[in-house]
């Protein structure tokens, strides 16, 4: 039997995002040169919502990009199944920007490594910061998040998933399941 | 050397025999054909008895259309290797086409082939000589001299005789010498550079097609020539419904036309080409399902007199290449009988008709004293187990070549003993 536990509800997620939005602005001393880039698939909605919060706090439109890291993965030939390739959409140069990468769950760090390699192909940002909703540990690379919604110690065999939409709904949740 | 074949079902269309009989062979001839032949006391030690219960005994099979490739292409086949393939396939006599190098268009080549055949001592080999010098369709060969040297027929097989005047002369001159003319029917301007039948499959594959009419037109021409000159003609490797129709009609009108087809034309269709296996590339090409049905119908109603293998050996050098560049040809000596027995199994022709088409008729058309088990005839005998199941494995073939599209096929019926001139040349283990 799979056991499933809700570790964060919709309200909790939204409060975390609000806090992270303020932290990002505080850390970067405002929204100047700031761009948000969400990592497909899990980071896309989070990035959109984070960007809205930051934009409304600052009263300016913060640019939003979406990045697909499939082509930069280090495990692409690990199985004979190829990941479905998603579209990357960064319609602006990253030169001299402060990029906040957004993902749902930080785990081994390999996705973030791939995402940073991909970002560099779009220009030379002033800095890259990382915002995640959940940090579940078990890092395999020297990578650390700058902004964390919730630290969630987990076992390797457990599965952490974030279910959210483009806007706050009551089905939003973070669950931990035994795989 | 004496042989007695006991307890077999003897089928000999030349004598209208289909009965359980014993056959006694003495001095290379059929000495007796009777019920329960008794043997003298003093003979029991010197006579070999072959138990033929549950198998059939027929006059030695004759393949009137083979290519032995010697002289010139010995890496594909030789007179001995082709002869060995023949006896393994149940054939006691085979005729070999003249498209060797040099072409068999003069006495020395004919004599050479006969000399090789004597050394090989396998099946009887009957050379077919060329109609034209070099088979290039311009000047008639010396028919009289070639006949005298041992040729049994004339053909430019592999190429058509495009010049109608030359064909007319060949028919007239051949007829005057009582020698058959075997015609390879192909209208080159329609077939050139094609590599399979023109039809839906060639359209799908984008391969240049060879239309059925390339054959039909020439069959019609040869029939018209034979009719006009009041001679006879034998049509080689009939593959189309149109040819069958034309030959049937000609026979009905009393024109002396005979015809042969090869097992692949009633076994495979153009669909076999879809995987680009070059072993399915053959001339004429494998045709449509409609043509295949017409061939069967022609065999059934007697329009097609003969089944001949058109055994055409090629090595990997010619076959292991792009389909369009591959040589045409299928080897057939070792599969011909089994593939033809399927026609009997499927109720298309009777066993008697099959033996007619594979022994009696080719002997008659080639005017050779073969194809009979009559007392006094040469003891050329084939023993067939019509129930024996076997799997075609090209690596077991006696032929030097492997270009067979039936590799791996499960077939039923096989020759088990081949006796040539009273000697057991082949016996299945």
């Amino acid at each position: 039997m799979k056991t499933k536990k809700v570790v964060m509800d919709g309200e909790g997620i939204d409060r975390s995002l609000t806090r992270i939005a303020y932290e990002i602005l505080e850390e970067n001393k405002g929204g100047r040169d700031l761009v948000i880039v969400g990592i497909r698939e899990g980071g896309v909605f989070l990035a959109k919502r984070l960007r809205e919060k930051i934009s409304s706090i600052e009263g300016v439109d913060i640019p939003l990009g979406i990045i697909d890291i499939t082509l930069y993965r280090d495990d692409i030939f690990a199985s004979n199944k190829k990941p479905i390739l998603g579209k990357t959409d960064i319609p602006f140069s990253l030169d001299h920007t402060k990029v906040v990468l957004v993902d749902d769950v930080l785990f081994t760090g390999r996705t973030i490594r791939a995402a940073m390699d991909a970002l560099i192909d779009f220009g030379r940002p002033t800095l890259i910061q990382l915002a995640v909703l959940i940090d579940r540990g078990h890092r395999e690379l020297p990578i650390r998040a700058d902004f964390v919604g919730k630290n969630l110690p987990s076992a390797l065999w457990e599965e952490v998933s974030v279910h959210i939409g483009a806007t706050l709904t009551d089905t939003d949740e973070v669950v931990i399941e035994e795989g | 050397m004496k042989l007695i074949l006991r307890g077999g079902r003897v089928i000999d269309p030349s004598q209208n025999i289909d009965a359980e009989l014993d056959i006694l062979v003495e001095n290379g001839k059929i000495a007796s054909l009777d019920n329960n032949i008794s043997i003298r006391e003093d003979d029991t030690n010197t006579i070999t008895t072959l138990d033929c219960t549950n198998v059939i005994i027929v006059p030695g099979l004759i393949d009137m259309h083979t290519h032995l490739r010697e002289p010139g292409h010995e890496y594909k086949e030789t007179v001995p290797s082709g002869g060995n393939a023949a006896i393994a396939g149940g054939f006691t006599s085979i005729a070999c086409m003249p498209n060797t190098n040099p072409v068999n268009d003069n006495r020395s080549v004919t004599e050479f082939i006969l000399k090789q055949a004597r050394y090989a001592d396998t099946a009887h080999i009957y050379p077919v000589a060329a109609i034209s010098k070099g088979s290039d369709g311009t000047i008639l060969t010396e028919f009289g001299d070639l006949k005298n040297a041992g040729a049994v027929a004339f053909s430019d097989d592999g190429k058509p005789v495009t010049n109608s005047l030359l064909m007319r002369s060949a028919l007239e001159y051949g007829y005057s010498l009582d020698m058959p003319i075997i015609s390879h029917c192909e209208e080159i301007s329609l077939s050139a550079s094609g590599s399979m039948n023109e039809g839906f499959v060639s359209t799908l594959l984008g391969l240049k097609g060879i239309p059925a009419i390339a054959e039909n037109i020439m069959v019609e021409r040869d029939i018209a020539l034979a009719d006009y000159t009041n001679t006879s003609v034998h049509i080689a490797h009939v593959s189309t419904a149109g040819s069958v129709r034309a030959i049937r009609e000609a026979k009905r009108r009393g024109i002396r036309v005979t015809a042969e087809t090869a097992p692949h034309y009633f076994t495979l269709t153009e669909d076999a080409v879809r995987e680009f296996s070059t072993n399915t590339k053959v001339y004429p090409p494998l045709r449509s399902a409609n043509d295949l049905e017409a061939i069967k119908e022609g065999l059934k109603d007697g329009t097609i007199d003969v089944i001949a293998s058109d055994h055409a050996p090629h090595s990997s050098i010619e076959k292991d290449v792009e389909f369009e560049y591959a040589a045409s040809g299928i080897i057939g000596l070792e599969t011909s009988l089994s593939l033809s027995l399927k026609l009997v199994d499927d109720g298309i022709i009777s066993l008697n008709q099959l033996i007619e088409k594979m022994s009696t008729s080719p002997a008659r058309i080639l005017r050779i004293r073969k194809g009979t088990l009559a007392v006094g005839a040469d003891a050329d005998i084939t023993v067939i187990d019509t129930h024996k199941k076997w799997t075609v494995n090209v690596n077991d073939f006696r032929s030097k070549s492997r270009n067979c599209p039936f590799h791996g096929w499960n077939l039923k019926g096989k020759s088990v003993i081949t006796i040539v001139g009273g000697k057991i040349k082949h016996k299945e283990k």
């Binding site: 082509l71 390739l85 959409d89 | 359209t203 594959l205 995987e275 680009f276 290449v321």
Partner: protein
């Protein structure tokens, strides 16, 4: 997600799902070619051999660029002779290629079925870049990507393919692909250029250009090989152009938003009038751009993985 096959030899072998997968993937790859740094590391360390036994510049270049943008090492082997001329069998050729340990071999061959025969002999993935008059699957896929991007769909569209249907691998591959995806295809050309039983491939046949392009959403013009005059396939380029050239006059019969496509290289003034080739309805250059993305998609989907 994965293509269920080792090789991509023809549109005839692909399912609707596989075609959609390839087109979706290609769609994502379009963006890579618009970047400043047009290279992703995906196929780093993979070797792709472009084995071209028939003259071709655009297809070979397209495959080469596709491979390089994926960071693969691409090697071109070009020859005009067949294996026959060299005295080598096709098996020898195949085994030689295999022994170089490439990951993917892209084959263009003047002989029908050569890529299929090689694919059977060796373990590497083979992509057919055109075999005789048989198939040219990557061309059909890039055509379909172009159509899908411009029209938003393929099913239900009226497509006219005009030219030497009998000798065209582009026509065959497009017929297989487009009919499978639900388009209505009409083929058109002089009777001598129409292969037998073509209608059994699920297309309408006409010898009349205006009838073919009436209400068409897509017009695909095929290149006329002028040397085929010698085979009596058409009397002269002048007469051909009179009846089968796409001009500003006959194009009026097509839908107003018709897409004009051509696999290139074009014979201006023979099968297509210059003002049409350069006109707003022409997507000929877009096809070329999409070709790179389609080939990247195939290389990506076929590479590696056991």
């Amino acid at each position: 997600m994965k293509l269920s096959k080792k090789d991509v030899l023809g549109m005839r072998d692909l399912s609707r799902e596989e075609i959609n997968l390839i087109l979706d993937t290609a769609e994502s790859f379009l963006e890579v070619s618009t970047r400043t740094i047009k290279k992703v590391p995906t196929l780093r360390g993979k070797t792709i051999i472009n084995f071209f036994i028939e003259a071709s510049t655009r297809t070979r270049t397209s495959f080469e660029i596709a491979g390089k943008r994926l960071s693969a090492d691409t090697v071109n082997i070009t020859a005009t002779s067949s294996s026959m001329v060299k005295g080598e069998t096709l098996t020898d050729t195949a085994k030689t290629l295999e022994a170089m340990n490439p990951d993917i071999i892209v084959i263009r061959h003047s002989a029908v079925g050569a890529p299929h025969m090689i694919a059977r002999l060796i373990k590497q993935s083979i992509i057919n870049a055109g075999d005789g008059a048989h198939e040219h699957p990557t061309q059909a896929l890039l055509d379909m990507l172009t159509i899908r991007n411009e029209k938003g769909k393929i099913a239900g569209l009226k497509v006219a393919i005009v030219g030497d249907i009998a000798h065209s691998r582009v026509a065959r591959s497009n017929i297989f692909g487009l009919t499978l995806m639900g388009a209505q295809v009409t083929v058109c050309g002089p009777a001598m250029m129409m292969p037998r039983y073509i209608e059994k491939m699920g297309v309408s046949v006409t010898y009349n250009m205006e009838e073919a392009i009436k209400d068409a959403d897509i017009i695909m013009m095929l290149r006329i090989q002028l040397e085929r005059q010698n085979e009596n396939l058409f009397p002269s380029d002048r007469e051909y152009a009179q009846y089968y050239c796409l001009t500003h006059r006959n194009i009026q019969r097509a839908k107003a938003d018709v897409l004009v496509m051509h696999p290139g290289p074009i014979n201006r003034g023979v099968e297509i009038a210059p003002d049409i080739a350069d006109g707003v309805q022409s997507f000929i250059l877009k096809q070329v751009t999409n070709g790179v993305a389609v080939r990247m998609a195939l290389l990506y989907l076929l590479a590696g993985g056991e």
